[in-house]
Symmetry: C2
Subunit: 534 residues, 2 copies
Amino acid sequence: MTMLKEKRITKPLFIHYHAYKKLQELAKHPFDLAKPGNLTPERLNKYVSESCGYKLLYGTERINDEVMIALQSLALESQAMQKMQQMQAGEIVNYIQGHPSENRPALHTATRDFFDSPNPSKAAMEAAKLAKAEIDKLKKFIADIDKENKFNTLIMIGIGGSDLGPKAHYLALQYLHKKGRSARFISNIDPDDVAIALDGVDLKKALVLVISKTGTTLETVTDEAIVRARFKSAGLNDAEHFISVTMPGSPLDDPKKYRKTFYMWDWIGGRYSTTSMVGGVLLSFTCGFDAFWELLKGANAMDKAALKNGIDKNLPLLAALLGIWNRNFLNHHTLAIIPYSQALIRFPAHIQQLDMESHGKRIDQQGNSVDFDTGPIIWGEVGTSSQHSFFQLLHQGTTTVPIEFIAYKENQWPLNDDVHGTTSQQKLLANLFAQSLGLATGQPSDNPNKVFPGNRPSHIVLGKKLTPYSLGALLAFFEHKIAFQGFIWDINSFDQEGVQLGKVLANKIISRFAKPNETPYPLGDTLINQLNSL
Amino acid sequence: MTMLKEKRITKPLFIHYHAYKKLQELAKHPFDLAKPGNLTPERLNKYVSESCGYKLLYGTERINDEVMIALQSLALESQAMQKMQQMQAGEIVNYIQGHPSENRPALHTATRDFFDSPNPSKAAMEAAKLAKAEIDKLKKFIADIDKENKFNTLIMIGIGGSDLGPKAHYLALQYLHKKGRSARFISNIDPDDVAIALDGVDLKKALVLVISKTGTTLETVTDEAIVRARFKSAGLNDAEHFISVTMPGSPLDDPKKYRKTFYMWDWIGGRYSTTSMVGGVLLSFTCGFDAFWELLKGANAMDKAALKNGIDKNLPLLAALLGIWNRNFLNHHTLAIIPYSQALIRFPAHIQQLDMESHGKRIDQQGNSVDFDTGPIIWGEVGTSSQHSFFQLLHQGTTTVPIEFIAYKENQWPLNDDVHGTTSQQKLLANLFAQSLGLATGQPSDNPNKVFPGNRPSHIVLGKKLTPYSLGALLAFFEHKIAFQGFIWDINSFDQEGVQLGKVLANKIISRFAKPNETPYPLGDTLINQLNSL
């Protein structure tokens, strides 16, 4: 911790690195993917790295050896590897130097550090011990629930990090759902969200999981009150149906209201909490505890890969550097995450939060305003469906969108018919490869409407099959890709001060709805009047 | 049609309009929303327009009177209103001058022109007559299905425009779903998509709707074959369960294979087809025919509003102009669509296709390469959930994202508890208003991490309640907003040549999977080998 905090630097570091200047120079003439003969089989085979059963194929990025060397120098100069080690060792990485800040570690890696060579630092070991105790509680709880055989539905109440990650993983593992078990999700303050989630649910058979680190989140607390009222009016003892995940001592840590409470701690950020109890209860209830354990194993394997030197073995570092090349040197404002896997339907929404909440920042860790671009806009939907939606713009629009494709050799379910000589999985992969190549090479034509300019960069994260293990590895891949980018930019990837202003103003307007005769808030009142005159 | 096609201009028109130069000048000093005292109640009340029960509140855009006057001049110079009239009259608007192109009308407005003052042009009347005959067929079909009382599930097989619009509308009207009736959706070639959609479905009670204009879409044809095989292996007569929506004479227009076929025509673009039978069958099956009819009525009302002169009454034109200001003059690359309405959970995905497939273009209607930016990247999720996800970046990131908010005064379901003095719907709206104001004004602070720069533009589309009527109006609002932007840029919003290259390359790679010993395709083969060595 001290190493990071000793220095106090008064200008952003990033653009003053030697490698930055070199990369700026190289970016004047980036590799031309569309030039005939440039994209070769040799190139595609050359730019491949591998970690934890995943290959990252990046011959279709606008890079060459010089760029890759300079990017690695950037990682060296910014001490990215040391910072990753410090993060996983539990040093304080969530801070802003010289200003009040959260000032704590970001130890989500400790929520899965139960396998080979656990991190030997005291902080990491203590955190892993706490996390393991919750795991053991969970294993027993699930066994009891299985034995009780009373519940078929888990109603999850949580928002942001307590919703997007768990839901994305739940959908990704639908092929493992136990027969008759499913989940409903309530996150929005919109009352229709509650109504839709409860529609058709037999409350007698429903377990309600309320997740809030502090136990004070407006949406979660309100939605819980509404759902609890439904149990009471159905004549049920709500305390027998409600469980919680929260910090020790929070309002949700109350045995009178919850039949079981699982803990998290302030060193687990909401958006980094999927491998904690936040995701654990849901995944164990629907897929079984063993599936969750496998997920942790896969995430842990990628945690270890993120500590390895060299982009040939460290996929998160490689992806981070490619992202910085596209963002800061080729100046692309967005990044599309396109899984060619229907099971990953909500995975882009999770990565959207993970990345944009981590990197929607404008100051560095020394408190200086940054003079470069930080996090891009992350968006995406699954292929091939999205080919019939927005891919028109990806091919022929005036704005270039770098793409991170994700795909698997095998599908999940026992259904993969051969139609006209190929399976659907082969057709799926053929489409992915075609997009990656077509976006890169483009195509000339005499008809201007059929011209494809090409030179649109992408890479493919390719695995064997989407299982709990490989899903955990994929999650950690993105977590660490993002952490590396924060380290290189010297920004704090672990706080979210930018959501505070909205909360303050919302509370002012809520007060105006509640007490129209008290202190006016002119701007808010004007909008309320516009609403009322509809 | 002739008026548009007579001229043959050899440079893009857009940047040569007088208004363009004026707007460029004005964009040097756009209105400063963050300057203390600039955002006033008077301003919020001044910049409000209204159509079909919707208000558009745009005081939080970076505009002033001068900008709005120049934008309206831009609409005049580009003959946007005349082109809208021509489109709705059935003239050929889908063309590229001097090159082979689809060369046909875009008459989706005819699929709902059954109410007050129908369009009097011959083409529009003929199209509306065809569409009305399908409506009548549908009404009778639904009555028969209701009487037969055999089916509880509709399995929709379709992709892109045959999937996103219908699904978004189906979810938006979930509060009207008939008891025991629901739908499943298959769009992806991914075999897991088929498996997930069929999981738990009782095929005996399932009606399968196959949608493809040409009847040749790879995904749809393949997925249909797979689903049909399941019916056969379950000992069911598949022809009794399958229905289709397609063009007359296509492979899907076959009474031996489908118990009923509904028609569409080449003058309905896939992404503009929700109000045709593409959306009609699904919505009538699940919500009842009357709900679909109300949807058409609402869409038709907005069609008429789009023909009105003046941005005070013509919401689509107003929104189009605000979008062009943000895209071409303030140079923002993306636009977020954020509904504060859980029911609109997949509406952004539909608008993403509608807008990006229409405007991901690089030539104008004369075949010239454009020298300005066309369609932005459209993305978004619902509020308040997204406040806990990516709003950090919207407030404090280095890239500004203009936002189109959508919200309603009332919620849909009979559940809107008062908790601590306000209803959830009030809390929802308070949050929306707070975001809109906070993004605009920002907030200073001594702590650099708590500084909000503000000046981030947005507007709110505000309605009374999300019903079939207002949903139809909302859909048409976006359709015409997009059409107006295409007219002003002089690009063709109705074709999608940019998806062809991917199809050609995918077929080459599919052949390589099927016949590894025939003509090699070196780039594709390299990727297949990378896959096989996993």
